[in-house]
């Protein structure tokens, strides 16, 4: 057991020494890995930001159902219960005529012109049910339910909902999906390029050290002992690239927050993205390290398997 630890220590040490000696050889591998990890990091942050934007907009969207004055509180509460039972209704609230008026006055910010339109003695505001949907894309089932003749009979007017908001959300959802797809393709392409460059780097390193490797073999070094330092070297590429990609994104946020158009960049809410980055810094760092180490390990293991094959003729 002790020997194993000593051997592991030596493998790591040799890997670090080899990395320092061959740093010029590793630059290409690190550069392409930085690009890959930066794309991954950007995708994750953009995804979280879009998700947040959609949630925020969804929260603001509600359906208002206006009840006729003749509707009794019992009928209203039955309707509320039925709407609550719908799968897409997240929050259902009932406002009596008086409560609806109070809400109107409050929302009108005491604006004279709006307030003059209503008076407390002759309240023109109908009793209202406010429904917040879970998913805006499935708003249709709530509308269908409300349009049923029995339910429509209780309503003084067509239910209203913020159609323009839905459109905005559709746009963002579409953009998110497109971006996600582009992200997946870009990550896949760059991961393959990354692996190929690591292959090449290791092949060159193995070529440079072929005499040493032959001697190690003849002296009875296990293949894992010969292969280990190459894997360690690639893991170092992964670690360095993870840190650099985080620094790149961090400096991008610093630059954009200093700029005039700080708050938003097209659909991407830079403010939130920056907050998300800061709040999840350690999580993102861990993720980047894990991905970097994974790419480094897998590609170096495959490369060393390929180029360090142990053959007895």
């Amino acid at each position: 057991m002790k020997r194993r630890f000593i051997t592991l220590g030596r493998i790591i040490h040799t890997g670090i020494v080899n990395f320092i000696r061959n740093v010029s050889l590793g630059v290409a591998a690190i550069a392409v890995m930085v690009v890959t990890l930066t794309i991954i990091l950007f995708s994750v942050i953009a995804n979280a930001t879009f998700a947040n934007t959609i949630t925020q907009i969804t929260n603001r969207v509600d359906i208002s159902i206006y009840l006729k004055d003749e509707v009794t509180p019992a009928q209203a509460s039955t309707l509320v219960a039925q709407i609550k039972a719908l799968p897409n209704a997240r929050d259902v609230r009932y406002f009596s005529k008086q409560a609806a008026l109070d809400r109107y006055i409050q929302q009108s910010d005491n604006k004279e012109s709006l307030l003059s339109a209503v008076s407390k003695t002759t309240n023109p505001i109908p009793a209202t049910i406010l429904v917040k949907p879970t998913d805006l894309n499935k708003i249709g089932n709530i509308i269908t339910f409300l349009n049923k003749p029995a339910n429509a009979a209780l309503q003084s007017d067509q239910p209203s909902y913020s159609g323009d908001r839905k459109e905005a959300i559709d746009n963002i959802t579409h953009a998110t999906n497109v971006l996600r797809r582009i992200g997946v393709v870009a990550v896949a392409v760059f991961t393959v390029i990354c692996a190929l460059i690591i292959f090449n780097t290791i092949q060159m390193a193995i070529f440079n050290r072929r005499d040493e490797i032959t001697i190690m073999r003849l002296l009875g070094a296990k293949t894992s002992y010969i292969r280990g330092p190459f894997v360690v070297e690639s893991i170092i590429y992964g670690i360095l690239s993870a840190v650099v990609s985080l620094l790149i994104i961090n400096s991008a946020f610093l630059t954009s927050s200093n700029a005039l158009q700080a708050s938003s960049l097209g659909l991407l809410d830079i403010g939130y993205a920056s907050e998300y980055f800061a709040a999840n810094f350690w999580k993102l760092l861990t993720m980047q390290l894990a991905v970097g180490i994974l790419i480094g390990t897998v590609s170096s293991v495959i490369a060393t398997r390929r180029y360090l094959k142990f053959k007895v003729r």
Partner: protein, 227 residues
Amino acid sequence: MILLDRVSKTYNKALGPSLDRISLHVEPKEFVIVVGQSGAGKTTLLRLLTREERPTSGKIIIGGIDYDKLKDKDIPLLRRKIGVVFQDFKLLPNKNVFENVAFALEIVGVSKKEIKHTVPKVLDIVNLTGKEKRMPQELSGGERQRVAIARAIVRQPRILIADEPTGNLDPKHAWDVIKVLEKINRYGTTVLLTTHNVEIVNKLKRRVVTLQHGKVASDRANADYKI
């Protein structure tokens, strides 16, 4: 210690076998010299013993290890039991004398403390005390070969295989190397030496196995070099 039973090795059928049904038995602590002209099959024989090559047919057993049952993944373990010295030394040019010898211990997980304790002793056996910090290129051919011998014996193998260790050396240095091999043999290590240096063979007066065209032409104790 070493047993070869009708071992053949053919690289190219058109050229015929490099080794043709060789049988050889070497006792523990023996010092055996394998002689033969270039192309006689000496190097092929050693490459079979270190498992760099597989025999086309025949059986090889070394130190109780049957090569037929040896898996590729266990070859490193076999090589740790056999010390090998090469004609071209095979020293690591970027490591000094001490580090070159220590390297053989490092790859098998020996601790630093043990290495510091063992390496000087072995360097003393090969008369290289005081030259620990020298780089290979600062040494004479004979000294380099003694570093290679120190590296081969530092793990105390039961068998030492020396493939033309004096091939690149002048007579004085060649003899220094042979004296070291004799010393190691006295300590109990079986030595298998290949050479075509007549003077060395005749002076040593040991068992001589002569290879000719891939076959054992003669196998005699206390022999001279006769082909």
